[in-house]
């Protein structure tokens, strides 16, 4: 009986979806409506809210009990919201792994329409879940002298990161069991973090300069969601179709550079002082790892595609020589190298923070210089290589390579140089604006080396296409 009603409800909505909507959005909405977990979770969340509302109304109201109720509620709510998100991402994964996604590319739908349809679908589902889950926290918080807006904002942002990551993981891989285990881990770690941040530090937004944290969180969440969706839409390779992974990948790169540039704007303008120590440093390092992983993966894919077995780029050459013809070995080795670099950077930052070393001294910075230089070089060479093989037009290759160049140099100059200002968005010229003598020397020489490398790689790699 219940089943019958649910499916007829889904059918009713399914029939009434307007013609003007993006077809991919329509399809994803239909698929989500058929997932029974969505209904069960919605009902559970609503029921729980009513129950806790009643409980809260009749019990003695102090801060502790409100916190307990919130904690309990959020735990269940997050889980309930997680399940439908998971099922949507699994649908996408199935589509990517079967031929369904490739088949969509034989229609006049452009890759961008497919991607944007998915972004919309994700947005609709996530927003619905958020709206359904909000009344109780909003009510509880209204009783206190905290702005509702800041709380909703923070829950909004944290769930964005959390869902984004889990989406990314779940659309990316192929093996269901492994992904399920991984998502449980993500859920436990991210979920508990969200609850804690929300309940115990509810006014965290005021504790820090209020602009800094939410903005960082926003940027990273937008980033995560975009990465997730682009990957789900076949970011790297909508399997078995080499023609359509290129537009996806180009879009992916373009998207990658925009939020990264923005997040750097935030980093540099807001938390420059904390950049090299504490959370700022950790964020930057994670960011570095993400950039490097994508670059490395791109490189391997492109090598496979173009069968460029003897790269001109000396660093790549060393790696190819060490690892032989296996793309997996190359990738693993590159990643290992990067992780080692990151470990050293983290350690260096730890030492600097612990001992209260003087960050302005060149020697202390030098500790981080070498590993970050290696990471930077590798990352950059990979990106350039990828970019050159994506675009037939040289001008586009040059443009994107320059973007990649400024991005890469940003990451690592920020790791090394604690107080790089927003000028370093335009790194090659940034040093001109600083009085600091050392900064001019090292950023200048860095820029010079990179420029030479750019020219060198472009000449040799793009010629092969």
């Amino acid at each position: 009986m219940a089943h019958f009603k649910l499916s007829s409800f889904a059918d009713t909505i399914s029939h009434s979806l307007a013609d003007s909507l993006n077809p991919v959005l329509v399809k994803d909405i239909r698929e989500s409506l058929r997932s029974r977990s969505l209904y069960y979770c919605t009902v559970l969340v609503i029921f729980l809210q009513v129950l806790l509302f009643v409980l809260n109304h009749w019990s003695v109201r102090d801060n502790d009990s409100v916190n307990t109720i919130l904690r309990f509620y959020l735990m269940i709510y997050l889980f309930c919201a997680y399940v439908p998100i998971l099922s949507l991402s699994q649908n996408w994964r199935k589509e990517r792994c079967s031929d369904a996604l490739a088949l969509e590319h034989t229609t006049p739908l452009t890759p961008w329409q497919i991607i944007s349809g998915r972004i919309q679908a994700f947005g609709v589902l996530w927003f619905t879940l958020l709206v359904v889950g909000m009344p109780l926290p909003a009510y509880l918080i209204c009783q206190e002298p905290v702005t509702v807006f800041s709380i909703i904002n923070s829950l909004f942002m944290f769930t964005a990161i959390f869902f984004g990551i889990s989406f990314f993981v779940n659309t990316g891989g192929k093996r269901t069991e492994l992904l399920n285990i991984l998502s449980v881990f993500i859920f436990l770690i991210a979920g508990s973090h969200i609850i804690n941040a929300f309940v115990s530090g509810r006014n965290f937004a005021r504790a820090y300069q209020w602009i800094s944290e939410p903005l960082i969180v926003i940027y990273f969440s937008v980033l995560c969601i975009l990465l997730a969706i682009l990957y789900g839409a076949g970011g790297f390779k909508p399997i078995r179709s080499n023609r359509y992974w290129i537009p996806h990948f180009a879009l992916f790169l373009a998207f990658l550079s925009v939020p990264f540039a923005l997040s750097f704007f935030v980093f540099h303008s807001v938390i420059t002082v904390e950049t090299a120590s504490g959370w700022g440093g950790v964020f930057l390092t994670i960011y570095g790892v993400i950039v490097v992983s994508f670059a490395t993966l791109a490189n391997v894919r492109i090598t496979e595609r173009c069968r460029l077995d003897r790269p001109k780029n000396p660093l790549l050459r060393i790696i190819y020589w060490l690892c032989g013809p296996s793309a997996v070995a190359r990738y693993s080795f590159g990643m290992l190298l990067m992780l080692a670099g990151c470990a050293i950077v983290c350690y260096g930052q730890g030492v600097i923070t612990e001992n209260g070393l003087n960050y302005d001294k060149f020697n202390d910075r030098g500790l981080l210089f070498l590993p970050s230089l290696v990471m930077c070089a590798w990352c950059y060479s990979c990106l350039t290589r990828g970019i050159c093989s994506i675009f037939r037009q040289k001008s586009l290759s040059v443009l994107f390579s320059i973007i990649a160049f400024t991005q890469v140099i940003n990451v690592f100059s920020s790791i090394v140089d604690g107080d790089a200002k927003i000028f370093s968005l335009f790194s090659p010229f940034a040093s001109l604006f600083f009085d600091a003598y050392e900064l001019i020397i090292w950023q200048g020489s860095f820029s010079l080396i990179m420029s030479l490398w750019l020219i060198y790689t472009l000449r040799h790699e793009s010629r092969r296409q």
């Binding site: 059918d11 399914s14 013609d19 003007s20 077809p23 329509v26 399809k27 239909r30 698929e31 058929r34 997932s35 649908n91 199935k94 079967s98 031929d99 369904a100 490739a102 088949l103 969509e104 590319h105 034989t106 229609t107 006049p108 739908l109 452009t110 078995r240 179709s241 080499n242 023609r243 359509y244 496979e304 069968r307």
Partner: protein, 311 residues
């Protein structure tokens, strides 16, 4: 519209899936695309459907290179992959509705297109089923219906008959013939060669990424028959002795029992010896009631042209 494939090459790593293949599909023809497993059929069809970028070569649709301008030919091409639609959360009509929307059909045009293809492929009773509830043959029907939604001029079908029972095959064949009569060009890859025999007007035979022969079926079968002269004898009764007797004849290379009362005789030296061989056979005085000289079908052309090697 004519399709011309020129010098198409495609490698996956060290595997040369396609090695400079060229062929021509005339308008309104049903052309079979046959070859052993791993010969490169799917790869070629996917390139023609605009899903895969070849290493080199062109696919010309009229005057347009489909490789460079895939977006401009989408509306004219219907591609049916070798995988079947499957989902436990999508109903048949929703599946068709999605693709109709994707092809830009809206409102009345969309619903009439959906009912047109549903009628054509006998889906009328199925629209509310989930895709995963369908049998293989029904999925194939849905897949065919999807291909026909936007009324394409060219159909690229990758093994549409795989896994179908004889009845479903006959129905599929009838559908294809009807479509060809409407003037559609149909390029159909298949393992089940007998399916193509009656309906195909031409064949492209591929092995290890190379075209071994292509052209009109009549030409191909004539050339295959030339070296492969065979006769089917129907007898009143058939036993081992008779078989041995025929096998013992001078001009007979081999004689095998092809059915209860039929013998397939292969003549030494091909067509040139046909008459002398017939004389020898009738001289035996066996109770022959009928003789037949079958055309070489796709199956034979295929067996003859390929060596069964896979790269």
């Amino acid at each position: 519209m004519n399709i011309e494939v020129c010098e198409l090459s495609k490698s996956f790593g060290d595997t040369k899936a396609l090695d400079r293949i060229s062929f021509f599909l005339p308008e309104g023809a049903i052309v079979g695309f046959v070859g052993p497993n791993g010969a490169g059929k799917t790869t070629a069809i996917r390139i023609m459907a605009g899903l895969e970028q070849p290493d080199s070569g062109k696919v010309m649709l009229g005057n347009l290179n489909m490789i460079e301008y895939p977006d401009q030919v989408r509306a004219q091409i219907g591609f049916m992959p070798d995988s079947m639609p499957d989902s436990d959360v999508i109903r048949v009509w929703e599946y068709l509705d999605f693709y109709a929307r994707a092809f830009g059909l809206r409102g009345q045009a969309k619903s009439s297109a959906i009912s047109r293809v549903a009628e054509f492929t006998n889906l009328a009773s199925l629209p509310d089923k989930m895709l995963s509830e369908l049998s293989k043959g029904m999925k194939q029907q849905v897949s065919l219906a999807r291909v026909l939604l936007h009324d394409p001029k060219i159909l690229l079908l990758d093994e549409p008959a795989a896994g179908l029972d004889p009845r479903a095959r006959i129905e599929l064949r009838a559908c294809l013939v009807k479509l060809a009569q409407e003037g559609k060009t149909i390029f159909i890859s298949s393992h089940v060669l007998s399916d193509l025999d009656d309906i195909a007007t031409g064949a492209v035979i591929i092995e290890k990424g190379k075209i071994v022969s292509h052209g009109k079926l009549t030409d191909l079968s004539a050339s295959a028959a030339g070296e492969f002269c065979r006769i089917v004898l129907s007898l009143l009764e058939l036993n081992e002795q008779i078989l041995e007797q025929i096998n013992g004849l001078e001009l007979v290379e081999s004689a095998i029992k092809s059915s209860n009362k039929q013998i397939m005789v292969k003549i030494k030296g091909g067509t040139a010896n046909y008459h002398s061989a017939m004389v020898q056979i009738f001289m035996t005085g066996l109770p022959i009631i009928r003789t037949e000289r079958p055309d070489a079908g796709i199956e034979e052309i295929f067996l003859k042209s390929t060596k069964g090697e896979v790269n």
